[in-house]
């Protein structure tokens, strides 16, 4: 059962845990453990879950970036699930090595896709994250092509990949590969993490991106 997608959710609100469990199980993804403390992802059934859905604000004011870092350094695939869409924190999470960042305003569909992608070691870029990347003004941001930037912006604005594809007159899979290339470019900067290295390696193997693009 190594290929089965399983998840553990860390969130301090029981209603969120219940909601996430319902959404994931409706999509055929069993939630093997849940709790309000990151410890639940390290012990028992939670330690073997393929994907960790981590709330960034567990009661405290400061985001739980150290919990995220520990999980990522251990090679865990993490989807950050947060109330807030503070661009700086979003970009920090990507830099640490989260495979996706979802705001709680984004619905079941995005969460399920993000968890599935993460289980396969792939990134998923929901619209809010696309907005954060498009608005990134940091010095270290990777160079994106005009087309990539346009895809990011249109996806952020419309929340519909079909709409983006129609608008830019490209196919749906081209939209996805643009988003993936962008994430690979981001994975190639900053500190190293197993998930980020895997993203880049896979993209190069698949011919999605050349070494020169990085």
């Amino acid at each position: 059962m190594a290929d089965e997608v399983t998840a553990v959710v860390v969130d301090d609100h029981p209603v969120v845990r219940a909601g996430v469990e319902h959404w994931l199980s409706s999509a055929g993804i069993p939630l093997v453990a849940s709790g309000e403390d990151p410890g639940v992802a390290w012990t028992g059934p939670g330690a073997r879950a393929a994907v960790v859905v981590l709330d960034l604000h567990l009661g405290g004011v400061a985001p739980e970036l150290s919990a995220l870092r520990k999980l990522v350094e251990d090679g865990r695939k993490v989807v950050v699930y947060s109330m807030r869409a503070d661009d700086e924190v979003v970009l920090q999470c990507l830099e640490i090595g989260a495979l996706s960042y979802l705001t709680k305003a984004e619905g079941a569909d995005h969460l399920v896709q993000a968890v599935r992608a993460a289980a396969a070691g792939q990134s998923y870029t929901p619209p809010a994250l696309a907005g954060a990347l498009a608005g990134d003004r940091s010095e270290t941001r990777p160079a994106l092509s005009p087309r990539e930037t346009e895809v990011l912006v249109e996806w952020f604005q419309s929340e519909s990949k079909e709409f983006v594809a129609q608008r830019l007159n490209i196919t749906l899979s081209t939209v996805n590969s643009h988003l993936e290339r962008i994430r690979v470019k981001y994975a190639a900067i900053g500190r190293q993490a197993p998930t980020k290295a895997a993203l880049v390696a896979r993209a190069i193997q698949d011919g999605l991106i050349g070494l020169d693009d990085l």
Binding site: A85, D87, A105, P127, A128, G131, A132, A134, G135, R137, V153, F156, Q157, S158, E159, S160, E162, F163, Q166, R167
Partner: protein
Amino acid sequence: MTDHAVFATTRRVLVVVVFATQLVLTLPSLVAHHQGPAAWAAYVLLTSVLAFVAGHVVAGRAEPSAGCAGALAAVTLTSSVLATTALPAGASFGPADWAFGLVGWYLLLVLVERPAALVAALAAHVCFCVAWFLHAGNGDAGTAGVVILSGTSFQLGVLVMTRVLLRDGRLAARAAAEHDAARTREVLARQREQDLREGFEGQLGALLPLLADLADEVVSTADEATRLRCSVAAVQLRRLFAENDDVPDPLLHELTACVDVAERRGVVVSLAVSGTATPVPTEVRRALVAPMARALAAAGGRAKVSLLRTATEVRVAVVADAPDVLPEAGDVPASVLVETSVHSGLVRSEARWRTR
């Protein structure tokens, strides 16, 4: 009339007066009374002063500098001394004394804009002539008194008239300046009032004509089109209320206000914001929000509003279930780029503004 104009005119008149006096009144007297070379020297000196001043007047430089005026006055007084001392004994203030009145006019000519210096020079001239007259000792005191009084009083009269003219000129100039300033203020006030009115009408946009049409029963709220106009007006009005609020992020504040109105109408709106707040001028803010507000006013079921601020751009976009035809757009500043398109039943409208 400026001081300069008063002095220039007076000097021009004096040049003519002096020229006429010298040629018509004094030359015959000088010739008739056979005087020595000193008198002729005085006459030539005076003529050279006249020529100098006339040259300046013709060249358009009617007001000589202080040094120049002083030198001319000194030459004139020297001529006075030469001419007076050359007179036969007892001829002072008599028919042979051609220079007394003329020198007074010359002093007036060179010193008209310097009243204190003029009075001092005239006094020196008169005192010297009187002293010379007393020194000679055999003249008619009565005739001398009449000549002195008539000559100097006429010249002082001209001086006083010049001063009066000068004062009136200054008063008139000040009154004219005040009048001009008042006119300018009036025009400015009128312009400002008009700008305010136009600005207000512009901001209220479709509201005033709509209210008028409703009041006149030209349109009815039963029509879909009228309801759309009402909806547009409501969003515009709500945005206008938000426009002057003092908030850290005015653009987002106005967007939120418009979203709020649409949500009250039952539209499900999601608002996404990315990037940090940048200052946006009010004009541009209006232009950025307007397309989104119009699309929201027309939106049926769902709408997604987004605000993206990158290092170089501010972009406000809306994607909504809305009829293909949106309410018409108003004037947009050239710096804001608005693009509206329809794809698979969704209207997308975006306004972009380059921050630099």
